[in-house]
């Protein structure tokens, strides 16, 4: 047993830069843990790998055939940005379920007794979700390119479009975290997340221009953050964007609106997640 001899040296609390450094080490250790999970069970990524392919084919070939866009343009050029945002939004459900499952195991109790940064648990989770969102975006883009979608702008503009979509997805991760922390079981997290994410994704301009909707619904859709992000992507990809004709501020300034929406969601959801986490693990 001599191998476990107790050292009497007290490990001091890091300060200043060292503190940031060790915070990042914690975040990275926990992000790696999530990545190991994905490697062991790749099917848990089905919602960001297989689902995007299925939805792309479904919307382009099943619904797209009957779609005529106001202002012209091919449906598959229009719908790709919508598919991108929709897939990233519904992936938020997986995030909520994943975190909720994690919280229900004893692992969290172990982490809470370690001299680590307690926010690292949430941040580490959000970063691994960002990585899977990047995978999702890539798959949507590749599937799109395979069936004839083409961005009409220069590469930096196209990348900016994906960047805006990923930022929005990252913000939604924190909304999903709030849901996971606020409910008691993975099943309720799934239910609540579905109720929020599904209308968010579909009551929007992602798959159909809002011009055809009843007036009240069109107003909701035009102010839906998902519509702003989809419109911003269309602008930045140089794809058909019928929303440009809609007289609502977010549709006239989709890039600004997308950034603002993401910021607002982050400012509201990150502190709430930290508070819910403390409350959740207090008793």
């Amino acid at each position: 047993m001599s191998a476990t001899a107790v050292s009497t040296v007290e490990i001091g609390a890091p300060t200043g830069f060292g503190r940031l450094r060790s915070w990042w080490d914690d975040v990275w250790a926990l992000t790696r843990r999530s990545l190991i999970h994905v490697r062991r069970d790749p099917m848990q990524l089905a919602d960001v790998t297989i689902q995007p392919v299925l939805f792309t084919l479904l919307f382009v070939y099943v619904f797209g055939a009957a779609m005529v866009l106001p202002g012209g343009g091919a449906y598959k050029q229009f719908v790709l940005a919508g598919l991108l945002v929709m897939n990233l939004t519904t992936a938020g459900m997986g995030t909520a379920v994943g975190l909720s499952t994690d919280l229900s195991t004893g692992v969290i109790n172990r982490l809470r007794t370690l001299p680590m940064s307690q926010t690292a648990i949430l941040v580490g989770g959000s970063l691994s979700n960002l990585l899977s969102a990047a995978v999702c975006s890539t798959i949507v883009a590749v599937t799109g390119l395979a069936i004839g979608w083409r961005p009409e702008t220069a590469l930096p503009s196209v990348l900016a479009g994906f960047g805006i979509a990923l930022l929005f997805s990252y913000a939604l991760t924190w909304l999903a975290a709030d849901i996971a922390l606020g409910v008691s079981s993975p099943e309720s997290a799934q239910g609540i997340a579905f109720i929020i994410m599904f209308p968010l994704a579909f009551v929007s301009n992602a798959f159909a221009p809002t011009q055809g909707m009843p007036a009240w619904l069109a107003t909701v859709a035009n102010w839906n953050p998902v519509s702003a992000v989809a419109a911003a992507c269309r602008v930045l990809f140089g794809n058909p964007n019928p929303s440009a004709a809609v007289d609502a501020w977010p549709m006239q300034h989709p890039v600004e609106a997308s950034l603002l929406w993401s910021l607002v969601i982050l400012v509201a959801c990150v502190p709430l997640a930290a508070r819910l986490y403390r409350r959740r693990t207090r008793n």
Binding site: L30, V107, N109, M116
Partner: protein
Amino acid sequence: MNDRMMIEAAALSKRYGETQALDEVGLEVATGSIVGMLGPNGAGKTTALRILTTLSTPDRGQAWVAGHDVVTDAAAVRRQIGVTGQEATLDEVLTGRQNLVMVGELSRLRRAEARRRAKELLELFELTDAADRIVKGYSGGMRRRLDLAASLMMRPAVLFLDEPTTGLDPTSRQRMWGVIRGLVADGVTVLLTTQYLDEADALADSIVVLDHGRVVARGTPRELKAATGSQLLEVTLSAPHEGAATALAAFSVASVKTSDDGLRLWTPARNEPGLVVDALRTLDQAGVPVEDITVHRPSLDDVFAALTGGGAPKTEDAGVAA
């Protein structure tokens, strides 16, 4: 705060709805000692441990671990403690080694140091062969050992063990006891909870008995046993005899109990030399047909039953035959 005390708690109270989980609980654990917290399910053991390990906060009262307040200086406490809970706190999907390295890194060890320490502990706990398999396939005993290994990654000064052997087979249990004794020999301070009296008896320097959130007794195992009436005198007759109880009463410090068939009598007896010989002589003079006579040191089961009002002492436990 006393320097010699690694764990100190004063008047800890905690309520969950209608249940008073902890009621003014005080506790002292000297540096380098091992204290057992004993009590039935729901006695408040786990609640006390959760507060001391910063997982929960008390409604009232204060506690210090390694000199740090568990509420206001939780981060400092976490740098000194290892915790092994009742439920496994391992990541099922990671391998044993990955679990240890992750805990090590999150405990501020450098990656190389974490790997070295993990290897060392895997060897110590005889988990080297299973080190690179995922934890989902581990047996209960292996999980407990890995969980304990995780608690030791950063060489804690204080170790909290919540029912460390519950659900383990006898061999694994003995092995776990050996590991815990070894840690204490190396200077680690241990607070463990248990429902098993023999475990507290075998491991602990002193014992705190909890019931319904209150401390109902504390002391060394020997003191606790002595407190409930020295020894237990038990007589078996070859035939019932009405004078037996009266004859035995002379040696009793409480009342003499008789079994339904009248063949077995037992009583807590005064602690004096020659008890058996004197009792046998007295019974013989009264014409009582004695078949067997024994003196038990009360087991902790007896003590516990007496303290928590759990009924008559059980005498079938192996005692010290006179």
